[in-house]
Subunit: 340 residues, 2 copies
DNA sequence: CGGAATTGCGAAAACGGTTTCGTGTTGACA
DNA sequence: TGTCAACACGAAACCGTTTTCGCAATTCCG
């Protein structure tokens, strides 16, 4: 890279001190008009830009927010990033994004690097592996160093920090309740292994809705998908049980269920209704389009960054961790019958 | 944030100089074993971490790569980010991502901020508005400041820097050629306004394939979609012309065309075959699944960051802009008939 | 035992800015 | 003519780290 022009260069060229240059560039009243003109003209001519690193070091703030997410090629997470970036930018911040790829090690590593003063605060959604291991010491270290932290979507209660979560229980409940009210009697749940916190919550909502409608939850109607195995073989047995509704914990599972149902000559939604989570492109554009629980990732990102920046900029005030819950809404499309 | 422990603190507490601490922490032979032990123990105890900003300022490098993309909630772009982040991380870099939202102003602003020494280099995909305006002076400034820059996907020849592009002409050609060989006679093109460089290239490929097969390109079969207007009314007229094939420049247009075709009682692929660009989730999961041209965003990201880091780390060698072309492949699915 | 080599450490400059606190020169006013 | 304020600018400290160089004190060797 070309040697960049600094305040020192200008000072030397113009025979003044660096303090004078600094002040002149900020239009300080201490400096005479004449000198200011000269310095500003020179700076403009040579396209002087103050070095950000120097400023950050001096001000002890980077105006940078670290974001660590498990994945990126995923509608929900990319929507969150969009929300974060938008509000961050408005408030003069930029974002550094890293991906843990659901791995504890990468998450740990990212956290370590970013907490070295590179960023003013962090927004994190915890990796699945970490949730499984239940080892949150790296987060607790962060908290004890008093580095502003906001946890989103996948959170755990033992980490004392700001949080923004989706009302997953409510989402599961609403979806199941809608299926029941549209006439479904026997609803299967297609989910992930239970250590994934959001899936566990959605399952709670599912079970709550069943109970409230006097239906016994039936373990044989619940499939915990192992992504390493073939999807269809894992779900085939639920189709043998006269089900007329499926709640899937994400839109991919929903789409795959619909596809399988069609192959088996079931009509969606009349024979079997399907609801998924994540209001992404699949739900919108597949045929039939899929009724789903929208989690409002954009809003989540916005709220998270607002909480974080508040925390960063009001350092002094005594801090009480806050927890925002974003309610999830049912977007009704073609994969369900209309509710009575 | 809590006052972080610095080398100075350690030095003062232990009654040594900062130089000694610095050397001790790097296990320098200049320092006696005894002193090293003492200092390292203290540093460990109080969880000392060197301040990144200070290091960056001293080393004159940030190990940070700026990434500016037009959008994020988009399969292709998020795949690119994934590729960039993966390779960057391997090589000890992190990424700062910004989004121009297709706006010239935001792009300009982001470029300005990031070129202040915040990053060691930049990877950018140009905003549509900028392509339309044809004002690339902000990029040229970057080049003349010799800030390492790699342009991806949407590029223009007048900016002298490294580039990674998709073979869009080839993609358009392959897709059209495939449609022709599967028996289509009259193929419509559903595209964006022509200032979007990639669309223009895909159209070139489309036209080239037609010409090679002795078919006259027919302007009435080409629709430039205005996203602000209703999609269906814009495409309806091509369906009145006995078409039997559609090439869409992205997967959303493809999905919408298929949906419209179904509504009008056309069978896809037998009455009308459809091919889209972007091998995203829609193409994979909708029914029928959509044959499409895969652009390999992941690979593009990887290549871009490799070129960039090479440029950053081999500053001295004389620099000749390179241009990588990533070939695009046809992923054949259910929305097309099999080729003869 | 004297000079040289080695060891162990500190002072200071450097990275690029900002900011506080002088200080010398004016000019006004008593 | 002496005093004081205002003006215009510079010196130096500071942010946290690395690194070169120099300087004692000790050890080694002849």
């Amino acid at each position: 890279m070309k040697q960049k022009i600094t305040i020192k260069t200008i000072a030397k060229e113009l025979g003044v001190s660096t303090s004078t240059v600094s002040k002149a560039l900020k239009d300080s009243h201490e400096i005479s008009e004449e000198t200011k003109q000269k310095i500003q003209a020179y700076a403009n001519l040579y396209n002087y830009k103050p070095n950000n690193l120097a400023l950050q070091l001096r001000n002890q703030k980077t105006k940078l927010i670290g974001v660590i997410l498990p994945q990126i090629v995923h509608h929900f997470f990319s929507t969150i990033i969009k929300g974060i970036e938008e509000v961050a930018n408005e408030k003069g911040y930029h974002i550094m994004v890293c991906f843990s790829k659901e791995s504890y090690k990468k998450e740990y590593e990212n956290l370590r690097v970013l907490s070295n003063g590179s960023v003013d605060g962090l927004i994190v959604s915890i990796a699945n592996e970490t949730l499984e291991n239940k080892d949150f010491s790296h987060f607790k270290d962060l908290v004890s160093e008093e580095i502003p932290l906001v946890l989103i979507d996948r959170v755990v209660s033992e980490i004392m920090c700001d949080k923004v979560v989706v009302d997953d229980v409510g989402g599961g409940y609403k979806a199941t309740d809608y299926l029941l009210h549209s006439g479904c009697k026997k609803i299967a749940l297609v989910t992930t292994p239970n250590h994934v916190s959001v899936s566990a919550l959605r399952r709670q909502g599912y079970e709550k809705a069943l109970i409230e409608n006097y239906i016994k939850s039936d373990a044989s109607l619940i499939v915990e998908i192992d992504d390493d195995k073939d999807f269809n073989t894992q779900i085939s047995h639920i189709f043998d049980q006269d089900i007329d509704g499926i709640l899937a914990v994400n839109e991919i599972y929903a789409a795959k269920c619909i596809r399988y149902a069609k192959e088996k000559q079931f009509d969606v939604p009349n024979d079997i209704s399907v609801i998924g989570f994540t209001d992404g492109l699949i739900s919108e554009y597949s045929t039939p389009s899929i009724t789903c629980v929208a989690q409002h990732g954009f809003l989540m990102g916005k709220q998270a960054v607002e909480m974080l920046i508040h925390h960063i900029e009001n350092d002094s005030e005594d801090y009480h961790p806050r927890r925002n819950v974003i309610s999830s809404d049912l977007i009704v499309r073609e994969s369900t019958k209309s509710s009575s």
